[in-house]
């Protein structure tokens, strides 16, 4: 399996990847708190981007309601922690199945009833909206006034309850992102990866060569949902407050997909690159504008929109394929 991980990877990519990883591991000792938080956000989007990429880039299903799974993961573990003192590591045993059930329902509705393309996207939006309105009325988890996790003493790092300094969260999200990367790589280079690509390219032709497209599409949806819910757990314990209006909002779903689209759908490194580019640029822009006393809500989003527009028009396959070409790395399959 280790062999499969590195098979066919050009040496240059391994070296560059290793360097990047090294820098990221050392980062907390090299940068200040603000930059560390920015890195956490970058890695968060890289992670969720990878998870979303499984559904879209691999199985070809456009989900515009991925915030649903983030929210389900967040609220489940937060509720268990606040009401029953259950550690999030145990909590995910409930959060993941719940998110998976959500994904399975959507997937089932979509695939069994031949709801594809735009209908599927609308369905995903509707489910996220349904959750947003629903949780607004869900008083056990605070409803629209919000749900709050007790913020403990920051000098103690409690990994079991995910209470602690930013550095702890940083390594957590770094591990998650690397883990997601590895999982995606293993899947893509294996049997399932081939089937997913075939389904994405031409579903009918894939069926004609014996691929049970329903099963593999469902697997992509379920895996994507489950992985995304873990991001929700991170979100809940890092930010310590949850509002349905924020967590399930369509803006979150759209933010989630910006990094992988800009980086490159269906590629392994695309979501990571996209996250770095997007968050890096937007934070820099925000900092520059702030220096000039400009702090208007909405500017960041316009910037995101323009980036997305640029990529969609000029680099439809994302920035990563172009960067890879420049660096001389050829990813064996798209």
């Amino acid at each position: 399996m280790i062999g499969q991980l590195f098979e066919g990877v050009p040496a240059r990519a391994l070296v560059l990847g290793g360097l990047l990883l090294g820098v990221l591991v050392a980062a907390p000792f090299l940068v200040n708190d603000y930059l560390l938080t920015v890195l956490i956000i970058i890695l968060y989007y890289a992670y969720t981007g990878q998870a979303w990429n499984i559904m879209m880039g691999f199985a070809g299903q456009l989900s515009l309601g991925h915030a649903l799974y983030v929210g389900l993961g967040a609220y489940t573990t937060a509720a268990l922690y606040v009401h029953f003192g259950v550690s999030p590591w145990i909590g995910i045993l409930a959060a993941i199945p719940i998110a998976i059930i959500g994904g399975a329902i959507i997937g089932f509705l979509a695939f069994r009833f031949r709801v594809g393309g735009v209908y599927f996207a609308i369905l995903t939006i509707a489910f996220a909206e349904f959750a947003r309105v629903g949780f607004d009325h869900f008083s056990w988890v605070g409803g629209s006034s919000g749900f709050f996790l007790p913020v403990a003493n920051y000098s103690v790092s409690d990994l079991w309850n995910l209470r602690g300094k930013p550095m702890m969260f940083y390594y957590l999200i770094l591990t998650m992102t690397v883990g997601a990367f590895v999982i995606c790589r293993l899947l893509l280079t294996g049997r399932i990866g081939y089937f997913w690509l075939a389904i994405r390219e031409d579903e009918e032709a894939a069926r004609a060569i014996g691929i049970d497209t329903f099963r593999y599409k469902m697997f992509a949806v379920i895996l994507s949902a489950g992985m995304t819910s873990l991001a929700g757990v991170f979100f809940a314990f890092f930010y310590n407050n949850l509002f349905p209006e924020q967590v399930f909002h369509i803006s979150r779903s759209i933010e989630l997909i910006l990094a992988p689209i800009i980086g490159g759908i269906g590629t392994l490194f695309g979501p990571v690159l996209g996250a770095f580019l997007l968050t890096g640029l937007s934070e820099s822009m925000h900092a520059i504008l702030y220096k000039f006393g400009v702090d208007i809500p909405g500017v960041k989003q316009v910037f995101y929109g323009l980036c997305l527009l640029f990529v969609v028009i000029v680099l439809p396959h994302g920035v990563w394929p172009w960067v890879a070409r420049v660096l001389g790395i050829r990813e064996r399959r798209s």
Partner: protein, 290 residues
């Protein structure tokens, strides 16, 4: 609760639903002809609503009176959008088209946010609190006027597609893209016209809706989703279906707000969507396409 209340709410919902229907009509026209999923539909309507608000606060001109200029502005905007950005995307894969319009929508919403801020704004006309008494029914004047205007504009639209040369040319494009090219129709220009018409519809609907609800920039995405639910329920590509779907949704929303809590009314629209997708995906009046 006395029957009158139900009836009042129902009629109120149906009138609002007519405006929704006009909004969805624009989407139906765009999708039916150009086959592009306009994710910026609600956002375009929000632009129309803000224009109405600006004009009203500056000149005190009734939005319904300004409906025509507002629709015209949106027409130009829509035409330009299609001609410049969207036409090159006609033959690109579906998800590329979505993303293009998602990007455009994102920019629109946030430009509005930057210009107008997040606070709700509305239009208080002189008849804002008037109502008509029909027997024991009380109906808001604003809703009656808005609903009436919606019916008028829809009728004009139907007539346009039925009786004018351009309208028929556009329908030809919708039915058979290659065939239309072959007989010499300038499809790209007709597409731009169609998008302009759809945008004009939605602008007009906005001018009407601004009398009924408050505007925030965040309204855009919510109404995009609503427009889709209406069009899918009524039948993608069916113009009468869009109106019917609008009425149905307006009615459902109003009744749900009455029977349950007002803030949960959108949940019923979603439930309706799921039911339609499950049991009659072509919508009430749609034709089953492969």
């Amino acid at each position: 609760m006395p029957a009158e209340i139900y009836l009042n709410v129902a009629i109120s919902g149906i009138l609002t639903g007519l405006v929704y229907g006009l909004m969805a009509l624009g989407l139906s026209v765009i999708f039916g002809v150009i086959r592009i999923v306009n994710f910026a539909h609600g956002e375009m309507m929000t632009i129309g609503m803000y224009i109405a608000i600006v004009i009203f606060s500056a000149f005190k001109l009734d939005p319904l009176v300004m409906m025509v200029p507002i629709a015209a502005v949106l027409f130009v905007f829509g035409y330009a959008l299609q001609a410049s950005l969207i036409n090159p995307f006609i033959n690109r894969p579906e998800h590329s088209q979505f993303m293009l319009l998602v990007a455009i929508a994102l920019i629109m919403v946030n430009v509005l946010l930057i210009i107008f801020g997040p606070d709700a704004k509305n239009v208080q006309t002189s008849y804002a609190f008037d109502s008509f008494l029909v027997g024991s029914l009380i109906v808001d004047a604003t809703k009656v006027y808005a609903g009436g205007a919606a019916v008028l504009v829809s009728a004009i639209l139907f007539a346009f597609f039925r009786f004018t040369y351009i309208g028929q040319a556009i329908r030809a494009c919708a039915d058979n893209y290659v065939g239309a090219l072959v007989v010499g129709l300038d499809v790209k220009r007709l597409y731009a016209l169609t998008f302009g018409i759809g945008a004009a519809c939605v602008g007009a609907a906005g001018a009407m809706l601004v009398l009924i609800i408050d505007v925030t920039p965040a309204l855009g995405p919510a109404y995009t989703l609503l427009a889709f639910i209406i069009v899918i329920t009524g039948g993608l590509g069916s113009m009468p279906g869009a109106l019917l779907g609008g009425i149905l949704i307006g009615f459902t929303e109003a009744m749900a707000g009455l029977l349950f809590t007002p803030s949960a009314k959108s949940m019923f629209a979603f439930a309706l969507l799921v039911l339609v997708l499950l049991f009659r995906p072509q919508g009430i009046m749609g034709k089953r396409t492969t």
